[in-house]
């Protein structure tokens, strides 16, 4: 009985989702294999005349592709990109990313809700990238999101779980898979998020900027698996200092 990640009806054994930006193409394949990722995100850009290299050639065939709507600043743009991505014929998954803040790259939660509703209505399996806000997460689920992807800290910052408490609230309250995305800098941070009960981790920069990229991918894969196992095993009790009241609170009971 395997512990599987189920998104939009699709089953995954690995809870490591790899972002493919910031890599040279040759490395991508090694990273996917070492990290054990079963899902890789991709962006959509203009193709140039002439036979240029294609990232799809570097991603093993059984990997699920997760196109993202990066570049979109509004829901309308995100929807357009999603439809184009689907036209390339690699499945129904779409990561909705609507960013109109170029300093911190924070997602626009409300445009994301709008895009999610439209795309879910068109049969996409929508995975929205969001700033962790419980009300927004609920709206995304109502809009048809198959998962919710709260950021841990700004993209590329490698700062780790700045939004830990708010992600924990989402884990407690939201029923679809929670996938922490953006800002994870170390395998230990990925492990910590998984211990909290998060369903999967997406990362990119932390792997891509390591000295030994395939080995770092392996470290992340292992950390994510270990965090998940710790969560499933049920974390042990934290011993607290005993505090004694001067008289017992329950001393008044009769009969």
């Amino acid at each position: 009985m395997a512990d599987q990640l189920i998104i939009g009806g699709h089953r995954f054994t690995s809870r490591f989702i790899l972002g493919s930006g910031k890599f040279s193409l040759e490395i991508v394949e090694a990273v996917v294999e070492n990290g054990g990722a079963e899902m890789v995100t991709l962006a959509l850009r203009r193709a140039n005349l002439g036979g240029e290299e294609n990232i799809l050639d570097y991603i093993p065939k059984q990997i699920t592709l997760l196109p993202n709507t990066s570049g979109a600043r509004t829901a309308e743009e995100a929807v357009k990109i999603a439809r184009l991505a689907r036209e390339i014929n690699c499945g129904n998954f779409i990561k909705v990313e609507v960013i109109r803040d170029s300093k911190y790259l924070f997602p626009d939660n409300y445009e994301t809700i709008k895009a999610t509703e439209i795309l879910a209505g068109e049969g996409f399996i929508v995975m929205p990238y969001m700033y962790p806000d419980l009300n927004v997460a609920r709206d995304l689920v109502s809009a048809g999101a198959a998962a919710v992807m709260p950021l841990a800290s700004p993209i590329g910052s490698n700062k780790g779980l700045s939004t830990r408490d708010f992600i924990e609230i989402l884990v407690n309250e939201i029923t679809v898979p929670i996938i922490v995305d953006a800002g994870i800098g170390r395998p230990s941070q990925a492990c910590e998020a998984m211990e909290m009960g998060v369903d999967a981790i997406m990362c990119n920069t932390a792997v891509a900027t390591a000295k030994n990229v395939p080995l770092m991918a392996r470290a992340f894969g292992q950390a994510i698996e270990s965090g998940r196992n710790a969560y499933l095993a049920g974390l042990g009790r934290v011993l607290t200092e005993a505090g004694e009241a001067s008289s017992p609170l329950t001393g008044f009971l009769e009969d």
Binding site: R138, N172, E173, A245, P248, L249, T250, L253, E254, D255
Partner: protein, 384 residues
């Protein structure tokens, strides 16, 4: 010759059915949980957590948790203070009518009981409300027995409208209504609805609610949800502890509230813990092993399950118990109580529902709260 009784799952004419899976979820979870299989390790694990799962909550209601009452109390007091500070809210109930068509074996208002039935006229109501308001109270709970004929929705609506002249917060503890009726009473000025399921065990429920509208189990169960759909601000839950297995009933009560909150995150949740008490014509009823220890255990479990929910302590309990639970786990206390019809300004017009154990006035309870280092609060809302 045995009387042919109706099916407690069969809706009666006029009862609105809503599509909701909450009842199934609650009853299934309760059925699959055995309080007697809980170990002390399970209890300890639950007490270390900030966020209780259903299993953790069930563990705190089990016999294995009884030795941990003091630890539960220590944790509860922290949670209660975190969410409510030192505030204790005061209110009083006003029974405006005790006519009732239901045949519930445990209740003083049972339609078969020969008691004095009464119903306040608008004039009498105004006098009662004025008298109560003079004590400083700003929150009132309006109650009736179940009789659409004697105390119908319009009569109750008129009472609520009258009460808005004197009170900023109005709760109702009446028979279950349809969504549009709750919406009407909300418009009249009520904000909070209490409905006790009495017992969540269908076969026991069937045995004690012999006839009348209250016999219909699912219609009663879905009352809070209809109230919230109708726009009510908050709902309260409770089981009559001791009627059946109090652990299972408290378990179901907490789960019921939790699923409702999950579906209606804006709802204010409240709990009450009525325990079986003697009443006219039925002095043989036993409290059924729900001693003060078990009652406290239930209250503490509610607190730890939902640190932000209001918990009310009624005058069914003795003064000493009430004085100790406020601030530790209870956040709301009744005072200056009459549980007959009226009874504040004039002599009671109708007999009581149960016997009161704490007859203290509002000012006496106010003083007691201060003496315990807490803060009596009369109103959390203003009416605009």
């Amino acid at each position: 010759m045995a009387k042919k009784r109706t099916n407690p799952m069969a809706y009666q004419p006029g009862m609105e059915m809503i599509a909701s899976d909450i009842r199934d979820k609650v009853l299934k979870t309760v059925d699959n949980f055995d309080h007697f299989k809980v170990s002390s390790q399970d209890v300890e694990a639950a007490l270390k957590k900030d966020h209780l799962s259903a299993e953790d909550y069930g563990a705190l209601l089990s016999p294995a948790a009884t030795p941990y009452l003091e630890e539960m109390a220590k944790k509860a007091i922290i949670e209660t203070r975190k969410h409510f500070g030192n505030s204790i809210a005061l209110f009083t109930p006003l029974y405006i009518a005790n006519y009732c068509e239901n045949n519930c074996v445990y209740c003083g208002f049972n339609c078969q009981n020969k008691i004095r039935r009464g119903k306040l006229t608008m004039t009498e109501m105004a006098e009662e409300l004025q008298t109560i308001a003079k004590t400083g109270l700003k929150e009132i709970l309006i109650l009736t027995g179940e009789s659409r004929f004697h105390s119908g929705v319009e009569y109750i609506g008129a009472a609520i409208k009258l009460a808005t002249r004197y009170f900023s917060t109005i709760g109702i503890e009446i028979y279950p209504l349809n969504t549009d009726e709750y919406a009407y009473l909300k418009k009249c000025g009520a904000d909070f609805v209490s409905v006790y399921q009495e017992t969540y065990n269908l076969s026991k429920y069937e045995q004690v609610h012999l006839s009348g509208s209250k016999r219909v189990f699912p219609y009663r169960f879905d009352a809070q949800e209809r109230a919230l759909i109708g726009g009510m601000r908050g709902v309260s839950f409770g089981a009559l502890l001791g009627l059946d297995d109090f652990r299972k009933d408290a378990f179901a009560t907490g789960l019921h509230a939790a699923f409702i909150l999950q579906k209606y995150p804006h709802a204010e949740i409240g709990f009450s813990t009525p325990r079986l008490r003697p009443f006219i014509n039925n002095v043989d009823n036993n409290p059924n092993d729900v001693h003060e220890k078990q009652l406290l255990q239930v209250m503490l479990a509610y607190r730890l399950l939902m640190p932000f929910a209001g918990i009310t302590i009624s005058t069914r309990e003795r003064a000493g118990f009430r004085d100790h639970v406020i601030g530790m786990v209870a956040t709301k206390i009744s005072a200056g109580v009459s549980v007959g019809v009226g009874g504040h300004e004039e002599e009671e017009k109708g007999d009581q529902q149960f016997e009161i154990s704490d007859p203290r006035s509002v000012s006496e309870v106010h003083q007691m709260i201060l003496k315990r280092g807490l803060q009596p609060v009369y109103s959390d809302y203003i009416r605009v």
